[in-house]
């Protein structure tokens, strides 16, 4: 048992660390306090269940290894992994080393300054091994710091076109973080140089320093600077983007315990906002950046504005909600849902729809084309032809127009008004007694599935057509046409329907590959979710998307959304057709 070592220079670190811990405990407690009863129960039930283990595994994979970040961008993933996992190793191996030396009774600052207190004692268990392991972990972190510093000045090094623009406060904390590890290397090497000890990294650096610098005078101040820098980082952490480190872990636990974002509970949103590390992966994904040149509405900046309580209503409205950012967010933040929460409700209480759907007919299948469906009569006619051939007993619910599905209202933040529209359609569908609802519009499809609480089967028309072809209810031949398929955002990323439209197209034509497909598909720009985008900018986005779609020179660009069709058609860059049109054309009488 060794005497407890102490030097006054450990105080800045100890004070900084203690303040940070106190702040975090208060913060965590306040979150749980302000959750509603339902969520508190979920926490209680989840705490000692397998869910917590699953969360711990996810924390290891995402917060330390940064698996999702690797999937998006390998070099950026390496940078984050080396910093997070390397630092984690330093803390864990350091703690084991310190407690081994002290026989399990080390004060919590001791492992951090171990080399200073124990410069050349190799008598305890695995002493040489610890030295080498600690050097390896430090080298891992330092490699990440080098990438991070280079990235600030030359972002292409990690394959990014744009990196996050930082505020002054973030920069101060960023510099203190960058300094921690080089300072640690210098301080440890100085001590090692004086005692002729050290591992594969600290020994040579120490020898080099001993040969060129007045080490005796430098060693003690270096440890002081290291301790003060740690203190600065810990005190600055809650006020900077690095708050994401202690928050993301909590978010992963909350999510695994089943807590979801709710309109009337802002706590989880706060946790999500604080979890954003501002890695900037969302910036290059955003077509408002790449096609329109907007640099302040991307998810990272929007969340930053919410966090700093800055004006953000313009940013809340200027978003396509295409979900391209959300689908790659390494933290898995519900970016669209947060954006929607910040759209205010301006529909007066007096909003009472004065109109009704046509009277319901008793059928097996209800077909709903939606408002936009009436803007693309070819699709509508094709669907009627297919439905007639199917032999199903169907009712074209809005053949002569009908009440809107309510999703456009919802996307504009007018939730209460949307409910009133939904109630009208829900009643018509229930009155028809149908077991299946088919819609040719992904916007309607999404709201039918998510908000209507219908006890019947809800199909997008591509799913329905695939079923008809598979069961032989309609017979199709193969057209001599090369098609490129455009995934509508609401259907693909929004509802996870990727395979069915492709299967149908494969049956009636020749599918050609597109550079940005499925999860990475581009938005047509016409999205109803964007409330303010001028029509000229929508056109820019549509042109960007059509450029990608026509890379392999298809005869026709196929899509499965009336809004996408209408928007892409305007570019006049290639013929655009709905999947249903191609099927109707390929149908054998």
């Amino acid at each position: 048992m060794n005497p407890t070592p102490f030097d006054i220079f450990v105080l800045p670190f100890t004070v900084g660390m203690s303040l940070l811990f106190a702040y975090l405990i208060l913060k965590y407690a306040s979150w749980i306090w302000y959750f509603d009863r339902d969520d508190k129960l979920k926490i209680l039930r989840g705490l000692f269940s397998l869910k917590s283990l699953k969360a711990a595994k996810e924390i290891f994979l995402e917060s330390l290894i940064h698996r999702k970040m690797f999937l998006v961008n390998k070099r950026l993933g390496y940078m984050h992994m080396s910093l997070a996992f390397g630092w984690f190793l330093l803390i864990v191996i350091g703690a084991v080393e310190g407690h081994t030396y002290m026989g399990g009774a080390a004060p919590f600052y001791f492992p951090i300054f171990f080399v200073y207190f124990v410069p050349d004692d190799e008598s305890f268990f695995f002493a040489r091994g610890f030295v080498q392991l600690m050097d390896a972990a430090l080298l891992l972190v330092l490699s990440g710091v080098v990438v991070a510093i280079v990235k600030r000045f030359y972002k292409r090094i990690v394959g990014m076109k744009s990196t996050t623009q930082l505020r002054l406060r973030d920069k101060m904390v960023l510099y203190s973080l960058w300094l921690i590890f080089p300072l640690r290397l210098l301080a440890e090497s100085a001590t090692c140089g004086l005692h002729g000890s050290g591992g594969f990294l600290t020994y040579p650096v120490g020898q080099l320093m001993a040969a060129t610098l007045p080490l005796k005078a430098m060693e003690y101040p270096l440890w002081w600077v290291y301790s003060i820098d740690l203190c600065l980082f810990f005190i600055g952490l809650p006020f900077s983007r690095y708050m994401h480190i202690p928050t993301e872990m909590v978010l992963i636990f909350f999510r695994n315990w089943g807590i979801r974002l709710k309109p009337d509970n802002p706590i989880l949103e706060e946790v999500m906002v604080l979890s954003c590390p501002r890695c900037g992966v969302c910036i290059d994904r955003c077509q408002l950046n790449t096609a329109v040149g907007n640099h302040d509405t991307q998810a990272v900046y929007f969340l930053q504005r919410i966090r700093n309580s800055e004006e953000h209503s313009a940013q809340a409205k200027n978003c396509l909600m295409c979900g391209r950012c959300e689908s790659v967010c390494p933290v898995g933040i519900d970016l669209n849902a947060i954006r929607l929460r910040h759209r205010q409700n301006f529909t007066p209480e007096t909003f009472v729809p004065q109109y009704n759907n046509a009277e319901a007919r008793k059928v097996d299948v209800v077909f709903f084309t939606g408002c936009m469906g009436h803007l693309v009569p070819k699709t509508k006619d094709a669907m009627v032809k297919i439905l007639n051939a199917s032999g199903d007993n169907y009712w074209f619910m809005d053949a002569d127009g009908g009440v809107c599905c309510g999703r456009p209202m919802k996307l504009a933040g007018q939730t209460a008004a949307a409910e009133k529209l939904m109630a009208k359609n829900r009643q018509s569908i229930i009155d028809s007694g149908a077991r299946t609802l088919v819609t040719s519009c992904p916007i309607c499809y999404k709201v039918f599935r998510e908000d209507y609480n219908l006890d019947i089967e809800i199909l997008h028309h591509t799913e329905y057509i695939k079923r008809l072809i598979d069961s032989g209810k309609i017979k199709v031949g193969k057209l001599n046409t090369a098609v490129a398929y455009h995934d509508p955002c609401e259907l693909g990323r929004g509802a996870g329907i990727y395979a069915e439209p492709r299967a149908v197209l494969d049956a009636v034509a020749t599918l050609t590959p597109v550079p940005d497909e499925c999860k990475n598909s581009l938005c047509c720009g016409g999205s109803l979710a964007n409330l303010t985008l001028p029509s000229a900018d929508k056109m820019r986005i549509a042109q960007q998307t059509m450029t990608s779609l026509t890379t392999n020179h298809p005869d026709v660009v196929a899509t499965a959304c009336p809004l996408c069709k209408k928007t892409l058609n305007r570019t006049q860059m290639a013929p655009v057709a709905d999947v249903a049109e191609l099927v109707a054309e390929a149908m054998k009488e």
């Binding site: 301006f346 007096t350 009472v352 408002c371 009436h374 803007l375 009908g402 456009p408 109803l528 303010t532």
Partner: protein, 113 residues
């Protein structure tokens, strides 16, 4: 004796119009300025199809005249489906104008009460 007479003036004094909401809406959605009142929006309107008295084209006139009571009643019918915006040959973001007018009306009413 020819059936002619001098009619009373039926001119409207536009200077007395309350243009506050009009100005707010134009600030937020300047595309309204290029509206040529062609009526494409009205002919495609989903709500107008079900409720023939609802005419979205009238929105611009009502805004300019400052007829807020009628404006509020008209806007109560819009479902925000966005078809009007899609068919507008001048690229007017009509859906955003409806949203902005509703917002401005609510603010205006809470200020005047």
């Amino acid at each position: 004796m020819w059936g002619f007479k001098i009619a009373k003036s039926q001119s409207i004094n536009y200077d007395r119009n309350d243009k506050e909401i009009m100005r707010t809406v134009l600030d937020n959605e300047p595309s309204l300025r290029v509206c040529m009142a062609c009526g494409g929006c009205t002919s495609t309107c989903s709500a107008g199809n079900l409720l023939p008295t609802f005419n979205i084209r009238r929105l611009n006139t009502l805004l300019q005249r400052g007829e807020y009571t009628q404006l509020r009643n008209e806007l109560n019918n819009c479902m925000l489906c966005g078809k009007c915006t899609l068919v507008c040959p001048r690229g007017v973001n009509i859906r955003n104008i409806v949203l902005n007018t509703r917002e401005a009306l609510m603010k205006y009413e809470s200020d005047t009460i």
